[in-house]
Symmetry: C2
Subunit: 530 residues, 2 copies
Amino acid sequence: MAGNLNGSMFVAGTAVAGAGEVFRAVDPATGTELEPAYAAASAAQLAEAAEAARIAFPAFRRTAPEVRADLLRAIADGLDAEPDLVDRVRAETGILPERVAAERTRTSNQLRLFADVVTEGSYLGLRIDRGNPARVPLPKPDLRHRFIPLGPVAVFGASNFPLAFSVAGGDTAAALAAGCPVVVKAHEAHPGTSEIVGRIITDAVAGLGLPPGTFSLIAGHTPELAVALVTHPAIQAVGFTGSRRAGLALTAAAQRRPVPIPVFAEMASINPVLVLPGALSERGPEIGRGLIGSVLTGFGQLCTSPGLVFVPDLPDADALVEAAATAVESSGSGCMLTPRIAESFAAGVARLESVPGVRRLARAATEDDISALCTPTLFDTDLETFLEHHEELTGEVFGSVTLLVRVPGDLTEAVRNHVLPLLEGQLTATIHAEPDDHDAAAGLLDELELLAGRIVFNGWSTGLEVNDAVIHGGPFPATSAPATTSVGTRAIERFLRPVAYQNVPPALLPRELQDDTRGIWRRVDGRFTA
Amino acid sequence: MAGNLNGSMFVAGTAVAGAGEVFRAVDPATGTELEPAYAAASAAQLAEAAEAARIAFPAFRRTAPEVRADLLRAIADGLDAEPDLVDRVRAETGILPERVAAERTRTSNQLRLFADVVTEGSYLGLRIDRGNPARVPLPKPDLRHRFIPLGPVAVFGASNFPLAFSVAGGDTAAALAAGCPVVVKAHEAHPGTSEIVGRIITDAVAGLGLPPGTFSLIAGHTPELAVALVTHPAIQAVGFTGSRRAGLALTAAAQRRPVPIPVFAEMASINPVLVLPGALSERGPEIGRGLIGSVLTGFGQLCTSPGLVFVPDLPDADALVEAAATAVESSGSGCMLTPRIAESFAAGVARLESVPGVRRLARAATEDDISALCTPTLFDTDLETFLEHHEELTGEVFGSVTLLVRVPGDLTEAVRNHVLPLLEGQLTATIHAEPDDHDAAAGLLDELELLAGRIVFNGWSTGLEVNDAVIHGGPFPATSAPATTSVGTRAIERFLRPVAYQNVPPALLPRELQDDTRGIWRRVDGRFTA
């Protein structure tokens, strides 16, 4: 497989080897190093990529929407056609082949969705308030509003979605759609996957005759390199998915710049679930099985994995708990993304286990031959223990583990008065409710929407529909920018800035703001029209 | 006049005296202190206001849109009806009575505009992607998106718009419209004006039976008090208009919080103007007079005052310069907002004057009997001097002063290659162009939209139309949040956050997201509909 890989990064259209420290990917299943070797970008190579993006920006931002759509579709087609991709992803990440295939489809579909977003055009936020030179006492000016791209965007690949949140992932798709050149810092855990995808994008950029600086991919694994990228003067915004510590470090670096820039960092979330009594009684075992199905997805290495579940301490709870425990026990252990993530997971599970009053209900069979091992584990505890030890029990443990909390008495009241004040901002919150729970659910919904970016009813938070209405975001620390989403069509808005044009002569107006342009949704004198 | 003033602030519906340090407003025309005395809020009073806002939020955010519209209209009516307002504003700020009256109208109209925004409802950003349970391989969930208010907002009154950007100004109107309680920190230069307006809002809140914590007004004049407000855990966002130093200090304080919050700070701008050769030839004297009219507006104490004007160094330039110089000389000096602002202005003018190669072309007659004196002044220089001394010449001098820069050769090329790279982000940029300038203007427009939030053609940047399409914002340091505007209907978006609802039962959905709600613009399955 390494035969197709050269250990390259791509700087403005050219495949080059990094001039910095050498590293290799590790197969997390076996712990063995993978060929070829990669080397980190030097400071000069990083600067070259950022400068090329700066130079590419004026031409790239003025490309016709159809050209950017063609670019996104060419990348999607390249991903779909690449024969070596699934194997390399699997080798570098331990993700099961069928999940890799599904992630590839999601990634290419996401690129095509953004191609549609660009050509549909409503993301431009067109607003026209027509003037009236005859108004007294002062003439009314003609004012027209649109969004323009911010400039070069730095994207940090995430370890857990080596395709969907990495080199050609959502941030890259949204930034290119917006008209922003992209410099990706490859995640050091999947450099080969990154090289494959980076070549596809580089070829697509060249194939369309776009400025070479439209895309660069640099390698590296140190915090210093990450900070150097975020603080390069050419970079105007940052997309990041990863740990809280890294996200906060990048945000702080961006704020220390002479000209601060926005960092859209999607960070930590434990994704609480509330099971109301009617739902517990009606379908407790189904909820128990569904929960574990969600927790096992991707071996829990998803931002939306449900890590904390509140269940009424009623006799019906036993069936839910039993179904969940059985599901865990009948599942297998699996391979995590990296040895370090597996270590963190084991430490997190041990930390939960060490809290007095927390019981391990079940765990999956261990498989000794996996290097970066995830052994899915189910815990439970009572509300009193949870409240007393909430600091240890509300931190995200990345991996297949979840904690059931049995709540005596009125779950709604207990959650509202005692639990929610202890929780930090979340990507998601889930309610299981039947019609006789609806009064209680309505009150909880009111509170949960202040806590999370997406509220799920009678389902699971894992599995994200990518469309106009979805939000993958939420109050801090779920993201550093709670007004935005990193998934769905609104993700493009992160890389845009509004400009108003006052009394600009019609011939000089941007084409989409001219009176005779039709077909793009716009707001004219207060009314939407296409 | 002081008979109607009690030296009060308003904490959650109650008029109280500050428990901190005592201070008085100063009449900038005479330098004399004004009665009554005011006292800064103590830490406990500040906390009481912020806590009351926190408590008010759940009920206030759920008020019907019509109720918030009624609140905004009641405040507008109260402002319009208040007999003592104009005199007190004039006494505290030196602003001419006719300008105060115009600002009052702007402020009450702005409140009424936001009342319309609330009831019109498109600010809610409704998006519905309907589900399909029959989709294979996975059912498609129903997803619905809306914006919800962030929570209590801290608003800092600005000195230069004691009504329009102060207690009941744009930030307060936008936050209340959004459903966010407001804690205003009154500007220390106009405490009496603030008391009058604070009483109007407090009465309006009480009159509608809204939670008292919906609005508080606290007094104070120290940076410590400002930081204490921004870092209070109940506060969720900050609106600020003022100096770069203060804006950056508040932004930094907000970022140091355990849960960082957004600060929407509108700061410095010098608002460059470019006069192209055709416009110079066609209407040089008119441009010269228009420029000075704009520079004299509010004695230059506007964020949008044009401080830097690039003119081709052609024989036609003399007529523009002469008209501008005559307009300055035939104007009078005037009163600035505060003695400190007058000192800064004098220092700024002296700094310009001290640059070798900068000539004072004209200044208005001095009036010795004004304490906080502004003597409007016109400078010019050549491009070479400007480029050599750009650091001294591109800083905002708050007040009626502007610098003409004579540009030899091709103005467009010189501006693009030499001037624009030296300029920081701006609120506005202005081009004067006739049809034969359009080719050059098109190229400049492309560059200026990267520099500024609003581009003005053949007019002046002062005077802001408040509507859907306007942007009062721009790249840093014009604002700390370039994706937003502090004027116009989009200002409400600053105080909102999106939430997605997945498979929420119809009866539990927010009313505006239910299928049978009509009349609000929304995006359903990709199409806008009302």
